[in-house]
């Protein structure tokens, strides 16, 4: 009984279109769990089903040992941070944060509200309207509004998508800290693989309404179970039926060390990226490969014929 959330074979379709297909997963208590996938993969539908905004066709949703899939949204002890935050425009910051507590009717609110205002650095902004806040502040109000209710699980629907890129990295770190400090389980939905890898204790990759693989970020990156996971998390070269990450692909002008089979290729592009130079190669069979050469190593020019090779330990054999 240490699972915060458990989905048991949840399915949902709209007309003929299957949005979510027999999705099962377990989120242990106190973890930061991400649902990662391209748009239209069913991750948002899954999130909305947990929140209670979509009914499920079949399957069960359990929250801390209680079945919740038949409850209306307001009876579920989960709260959501919406993609565009959905702050009530006619209420102040304080009004937004107190909204949920007032619905419960249990007072006094002062203590939890003060704590959450402090936690999210919103003290002094209580009487502002959402329209008077910056993007980052809005996001923190959305978090505060949900966290003040001490949910058993917090759902976050691409909460960083509305922020500009520089802010995003900073907020990402704060989000992780917040989760650790509060100990509340987070279910984070995103299409950004870097975000998911950086934040999650565990993640599930979804595609076409189904889960492709669940595991820790390193497991998924180093031991992807499907070609989709391999390609979606980072970049993957496919050569002669095996996959090799660009950072594992090596190139040389002469012969590779003993025991390694060389692949002949011609350099088609070399893009300087600062710490590394990204080399694009074209093999005799027409495959395009990417490799990385660290700053200070050999310099390669487009048109040059080279040999590429890799350690067999780094290669991945996956059925398409």
């Amino acid at each position: 009984m240490n699972a915060a959330l458990e989905l048991r074979s949840v399915s949902k379709s709209y007309g003929n279109q299957r949005a979510v297909e027999r999705v099962s997963l377990t989120i242990p208590r106190g973890t930061f769990f991400s649902l990662l996938g391209p748009s239209g993969c069913g991750k948002t539908t899954t999130l909305r089903a947990i929140g209670g905004f979509e009914s499920v066709d079949s399957g069960e949703i359990w929250l801390n040992g209680e079945r919740i899939d038949l409850l209306p949204p307001h009876r579920r002890k989960v709260n959501t941070v919406f993609q565009n935050y959905a702050l009530f425009p006619h209420l102040t910051v304080l009004g937004n944060i107190e909204f949920g507590l007032r619905q419960r009717g249990a007072g006094p609110f002062d203590e939890p509200v003060r704590r959450v205002l402090e936690q999210l650095q919103l003290a002094g902004k209580e009487s502002r309207r959402p329209s008077e806040l910056s993007g980052g502040e809005r996001q923190r109000v959305a978090l505060a509004r949900a966290l003040v209710l001490s949910p058993e699980l917090l759902l976050l629907d691409e909460p960083l998508a509305a922020l500009d890129p520089q802010l995003r990295k900073q907020v990402r770190a704060e989000l992780k800290d917040l989760q650790r400090r509060t100990g509340i389980s987070f279910l984070f939905v995103t299409h950004d693989q870097e975000e998911a890898l950086a934040l999650s204790d565990a993640l599930a990759v979804m595609n076409h309404g189904a889960i492709e693989q669940i595991g820790a970020p390193t497991d998924l990156y180093l031991r992807p179970a499907t070609r989709f996971v391999a390609s979606f998390l980072g970049t993957m070269n496919w050569c002669n039926g095996v996959g090799v990450r660009p950072e594992a692909l090596k190139i040389c002008r002469g012969a590779p060390p003993d025991g390694h089979t060389p692949v002949h290729a011609v350099i088609s592009r070399a893009i300087f990226l600062g710490p590394v130079t990204q080399i694009e190669l074209r093999t005799a069979s027409g495959d395009v490969l990417l490799a990385q050469v660290a700053q200070g190593g050999d310099v390669y020019k487009p048109g040059e014929a080279v040999q590429s090779w890799w350690n067999p330990a780094d290669e991945l054999r996956l059925t398409p």
């Binding site: 209670g52 905004f53 307001h74 959501t80 919406f82 959905a86 009530f88 006619h90 909204f99 209710l149």
Partner: protein
């Protein structure tokens, strides 16, 4: 080029507004004829002393009041329902009822009432006028409220539900406050079109339900009268204030 455009615009604004201004000027003219003979409020006094006018104005106020309340309630509910489940078919019929010539609306309602009277022992009167006014103001209310709802983010309602509000309380505490300016604007608009209507009213009115526009029409047919200038000016000013408030609220 800019100057030409500005001069032209000035002319059109004059074309739209000066005829009403002239009525206002002549409503305070002491003389009976179309030549200025000094300032006087005698026509306003005559207007207030005219029993027939005052009675019909009272009728108009009652009809407009009742039908505004009913049309605003029904129209708001209808707009909310349409917003919840989008329907092309509905918006088509909404525009049709907005541009439909009044005479058609009037005779359709008359036909409907007469048909219904075959089964009910009723006659044309205040109730049929009120029903007719509710039915034609409804479209205005729906359009105004719907326009406001179009800019409403549906996830706000979901957020309220997520934070523990029941469906009813999410509507009452989040959606309704958002709709409120539009609802008030719609009510003012419904009141104006109701106070103003002649064509439909004259078709479905009974003997006991003579409204202000019906009296104005009868006076206008008989010809020009200074009392009518006073009535017109009063009505234009009163309705103008309502419309300005309504317009303000809608552009919030």
């Amino acid at each position: 080029m800019r100057l030409v455009l500005a001069l032209y615009a000035l002319l059109v604004f004059a074309f739209l507004n000066v005829p009403l201004l002239i009525l206002a000027v002549f409503s305070v003219n002491a003389g009976r004829f179309t030549s200025w003979s000094g300032f006087s409020l005698r026509w306003y006094q005559a207007m207030l002393a005219d029993g027939n006018l005052m009675e019909s104005a009272m009728n108009s106020l009652v009809i407009a009041g009742v039908s505004t309340v009913a049309a605003t309630l029904l129209g708001t509910m209808a707009a909310y329902a349409v917003w919840k489940r989008k329907s092309n078919w509905f918006s088509g019929s909404l525009y049709l009822s907005l541009v439909m010539p009044e005479i058609i609306t009037g005779i359709s309602l008359l036909a409907l009432f007469q048909w219904a009277f075959r089964f009910l022992r009723l006659q044309l009167g205040m109730h049929t006028v009120v029903l007719a006014h509710v039915s034609f103001s409804l479209a205005f209310v729906v359009v105004v409220v719907l326009a406001r709802l179009r800019s409403f983010d549906p996830s706000l309602e979901e957020a309220a539900r997520d934070l523990g509000a029941t469906e009813y309380s999410a509507f009452a505490r989040v959606t309704l406050p958002y709709m409120m300016p539009a609802i008030i604007a719609a009510a003012l608009l419904a009141f104006t079109v109701s106070i103003d209507d002649y064509v439909i009213t004259s078709l479905v009115a009974g003997i006991d339900s003579q409204t202000l526009p019906m009296v104005i029409y009868a006076m206008a047919r008989r010809g020009v009268s200074p009392v009518l200038n006073a009535v017109s000016t009063t009505l234009v000013v009163a309705l103008g204030v309502l419309i300005l408030i309504s317009h303000r609220l809608r552009s919030l």
